[in-house]
Amino acid sequence: MLHLLSLKALRERLQKREVSSVELTKHFIDRIAKFSDLNAFISVDEEGALASAEDADKSLNKNQSGNLTGIPIAHKDIFCTKRLRTTCGSKMLAGFTAPYDATVVQRLANAGCVTIGKTNMDEFAMGSSNETSFFGNVKNPWQTSRVPGGSSGGSAASVAARLIPAATGTDTGGSIRQPAAFCGLTGLKPSYGRVSRYGMIAFASSLDQGGPLTRSAEDSAIMFNAMGGFDPKDSTSIERPIPSVNELLDLDLRGLRLGLPTEFFDSSVDTAVLGSVREALQILEKRGAQLVDVSLPNSAAGIPCYYVIAPAEASSNLSRFDGVRFGHRSEQADSLLDLYECSRAEGFGEEVKRRILIGTYVLSAGYYDAYYLKAQKIRRVISDDFTKAFEKCDVIVGPTTPSTAFKIGEKTQDPVSMYLNDIFTNTVNLAGLPSLSMPVGLDGSGLPIGMQLIGRFMDETSLIGTAHQFQLETDWHERCPEDFA
């Protein structure tokens, strides 16, 4: 039952030599194969993983191990890896192997992690259900007729199904927190600039941030500490160290002010979701936290603002896919312009094309001021709302999503209804703040409910600490979908 152990427990067993990294790696590779129906992985590197596991065992035997030596993990297929192909969930990159490793990949490898494979995701991270992947949709292990959320859907499904102890993800508008909520996990989106974006394929560069998907706050602290920190290769990386795992976890809830924005507790949220969030708040209150009312009056403008800024940045970032230097190249082309247009038309899926078109539109002559500049001003207003709210509280809390996981296919015909899933999460990216989703209950049909914690810039400690204190008192984070126990 090795797969039921937490990252922390596995680490202890490895260090005591009660289990070897090779045994552990084989165990998880077997599980990935056994539950391949979930479609959580795009690539699995059995040979490479076993070779690194053997190396890890040698280091462990010599007592030369790092913090995570021998622990199998998986990366969202947006992080470049030298040894394995990196597809970003797209036909465009279906045959692409990067010439270098992303900093996150490198750091976790340096800490001793064994990379087992790359997880499925929405194409170029554009989606909230993992249904835009060129490699097919991912199933939610809690109910396989449901989506796991997205865009880090493969990472979330694989950690929830205990196919891997922890996985990396990225979050541009909610892509770590929403799948964490839908799959009953702890998902951390660090402050913008905390985790290096070097080698992380860009979607919207002023919003993108990498982070871990784990089963507990404790595991989240371990992963965040190992993957984050200053990187000279990322020009927006913050030159401050990540707190130690103990510092991240050790929080006294007494006197901590939790702010409840009225806008996050309205009638558009499922009653089961609101009920579980309120119960969780009572538990935190009992442990000494104070609940205060706050307001984020412009949060309704978050979705419109985001759906101008994110596609605008995406249209610029994705212009690098030209069929010349890397990625899919059309065989139809007679001219250079044909080569660009056909390679891109054949390589990108429908949602990606839609966002490139809308992004190009809002940046084009005659529309720039009305859309892009306007959205940037709203972005400031939204960010100022948070600053004001943090005068009255230390952490902002609310539901991560308005509902639990929806059915596969339910929202694919209506992109706008899909976008509304990120209503509580994407303002956080616009402001660059840290945020965490943690499991706080199950709804009537047994689907996980997530609660979101939002912190001041650089204050991941209050988020991970609060989640850890909550998890010491409750067992929602230990619940495992029945068929995967």
């Binding site: 192997t97 020009s235 759906y307 839609r354 001003k377 706008v416 976008y419 616009l430």
Partner: protein, 95 residues
């Protein structure tokens, strides 16, 4: 202000995306839906607000002007679809 067929064609051209005649209505509807959603932006008054392009209002870090990487042309061209003698191949541009 609904998106016209011409708008879709114009934007697709700017984005270097080939859109076939048959696909235009589908993209037209998609873009219309998104523009409807983002139209709410126009309800907010933002006259004296400074635009925010980035979460960090700081200037980018500078470094010494030194060579930090070796020439890795061959490595970087390994993932290119068509190269010859260290050059990227494209359809003929000049007759």
């Amino acid at each position: 202000m609904p998106i016209s067929e011409n708008d879709v064609t114009r934007v697709a051209r700017l984005a270097r995306l080939r859109v076939t005649e048959a696909e235009i209505p589908q993209y037209q509807a998609g873009l219309d839906g998104i523009l409807d959603l983002v139209a709410q932006l126009h309800e907010s008054v933002t006259d004296d607000i400074e635009p925010m392009a980035h979460p960090q209002d700081i200037s980018l870090r500078l470094r010494e002007d030194q060579v930090t990487e070796d020439d890795e042309r061959d490595l970087f061209q390994e993932c290119a679809p068509a190269v010859e003698n260290g050059l990227y191949l494209v359809p003929r541009v000049i007759e």
